[in-house]
Symmetry: C2
Subunit: 326 residues, 2 copies
DNA sequence: TTGAAAGCGATACCAT
DNA sequence: ATGGTATCGCTTTCAA
């Protein structure tokens, strides 16, 4: 059995209250007493129980983060940014991946009971679940998700970047565009789709529900078979675009001459594939959310806060023969 | 204030013991009583406190995982595999990134106090810290790290794969090899270096301590400036290799004709860059560790266990003009 | 400066 | 089948 506060108290010949004071080097304890306690603690290799402390203080000193998946750099980077700031603020981090989990709702509620606040990424759980938790007093920050009630949120700019991306394509001579991705799936994609529609006259939608390379490959395949290639494939994310791009190049289609391809996120592979895309400040998304959550937990703020982070158009050879921007 | 077990007991006109029984749908409770309790719980929107429960049961139902960093797919995938299995086993997951953290030791100890067991990835913390925790009764599984004491471990095969990789290079005509990476940095790299040395007659070492693309770029730069190119750069990981490869190609060096390049890990970008590499079962590393940890936590096993997972040589156009293997 | 004792919110043993 | 109560390990008044 691990030593408890009582063992230390007995060993040092003081009360548990005094031990507690020393361990949190808080109050006023006479130096001599403090020394005795510390000695006893050291001898017994005593470390205060987090559970006991948490229960008494009624706080967890832990934050949660819910995401669909960690494959692909996007979510991983966000989580990393989150963890870094949370740690800085002295908080532990709990993670929960909802992907392929039937009982995601239950898992999120469970997580909520283990931390002082949490952030959710994308459309991981139903609004109703989030709302119920918020009503119970849970502190919540949303990332990449439209506002729910008066909850805080952090998002990367989508609409205007999509407009800029589309205008670039048009400037490069593309007329018939084809958007690949499902706007109903996430708000991010919906906003990108809206931006593309706004800037382009001739754009059609291929609503694929998956966002992996395979899905992109299939889209390109279908287009090749039908002999119906647009001037540009505007993909909802990089992985889709990489799939499309790979298939087109393999089929001998000239990119960007004949067909142009764009992605979104700027994952590492995008650079090697020469893929034009939009770079998101992934770590910053997580870091910002962590800071906002901390404000909520400490009741530093009453007004809801909504952050919109900037993105950056990255032009590469999948759309342009001119000098690449990076 | 959130309702407690006492509120529900009062509301339902029963004792807290009965409420507890109902909430864990354990023991024998008369259907009528159970219904009354459930109704009261529902009305009050009662959810048992994890803290109270954990303290009473003296278990956390949570696992930890310590890693250096989540950037790059390697660690992210391992964490994901770990989380998936842990969740399946009904356990929450705490994460801790030690990268750029001065007080990593403290953070790990703190984490140990918050979970029933943890796994550490690579050389995140000193052996001494791990040993101290183990002595205190912490359940620990090591990933990608040589055994400490009689602690469980999971590793990916390195030595033999390095031999195979080297033999492939030699078969392709490479004679003068140059290994890029620091064997002193991690056991993984040390084993790869040993394998390469065993299979090659002529191999020199460039000990770079960083493992990013930039470091690779610098290595290639230095070699180009000195006009001293080997037949092949054997890099400790893909990111280094991608840096080398990019720089060489930019300089007009013919790859694989003039110089060959290999990496390790098979990250997504490797495929697009046509990089020959060794694929590791990243998720499987995490998943296996999670299962082993669960055995430890449940005392299902007394003998230490050491798993060695298989890797796969992936040949691409950075070393060979023949048909690629994937 | 220190100690006694009342929580914190549950579980679980022992009666009834 | 239920209830009373000690217990888990700590924090935090309130007195002394």
């Amino acid at each position: 059995m691990l030593p408890t506060i009582r063992d230390v108290a007995r060993e040092a010949g003081v009360s548990i209250a005094t031990v507690s004071r020393v361990m949190r080097d808080s109050d006023t304890v006479r130096p001599a007493t403090r020394a005795r306690v510390l000695l006893a603690a050291q001898e017994l290799e005593y470390i205060p129980s987090q559970l006991g402390r948490q229960l008494a203080e009624r706080r967890h000193a832990a934050n949660g983060i819910v995401f669909p998946d960690l494959s692909g750099p996007y979510f991983a980077e966000v989580v990393l940014g989150y963890e870094a700031v949370a740690a800085e603020l002295g908080r532990s981090v709990l993670i929960l991946s909802t992907n392929g989990r039937a009982d995601a709702d239950v898992a999120v509620r469970e997580m909520a009971g283990r931390c002082d606040g949490l952030v959710t990424l994308g459309r991981t759980v139903d609004d109703s679940v989030i709302e119920a938790l918020a009503k119970r007093g849970a502190r919540i920050v949303l990332i990449a998700r439209p506002p729910i009630g008066s909850l805080d949120s952090v998002n990367a700019e989508n609409h205007d970047s999509a407009v800029a991306l589309t205008e670039h394509l048009i400037a490069e001579g593309a007329r018939r565009l084809r958007f690949v991705g499902d706007p109903d799936l996430t708000a991010d994609v919906a906003e990108r789709w809206a931006g593309v529609q706004k800037a382009a006259d001739d754009v059609e939608l291929v609503a694929v529900t998956e966002l992996g390379e395979d899905a992109g490959t299939r889209v390109a395949d279908a287009a090749l078979e039908r002999g119906d290639l647009p001037d540009a494939f505007v993909c909802a994310n990089d992985e889709l675009a990489l799939g499309v791009l790979g298939r087109l190049r393999a089929a001998g289609v000239e990119v960007p001459g004949q067909v142009k391809v764009t992605g979104w996120d700027d994952v590492m592979a995008a650079r090697y594939a020469g893929l034009t895309t939009v770079r998101q400040p992934m770590r910053e998304l997580g870091a910002t959310a962590a800071r906002m959550l901390d404000e909520l937990i400490h009741d530093t703020r009453t007004e809801p806060r909504h952050e919109l982070l900037h993105t950056e158009l990255v032009i590469r050879r999948s759309t342009s023969r001119k000098k690449e921007s990076s």
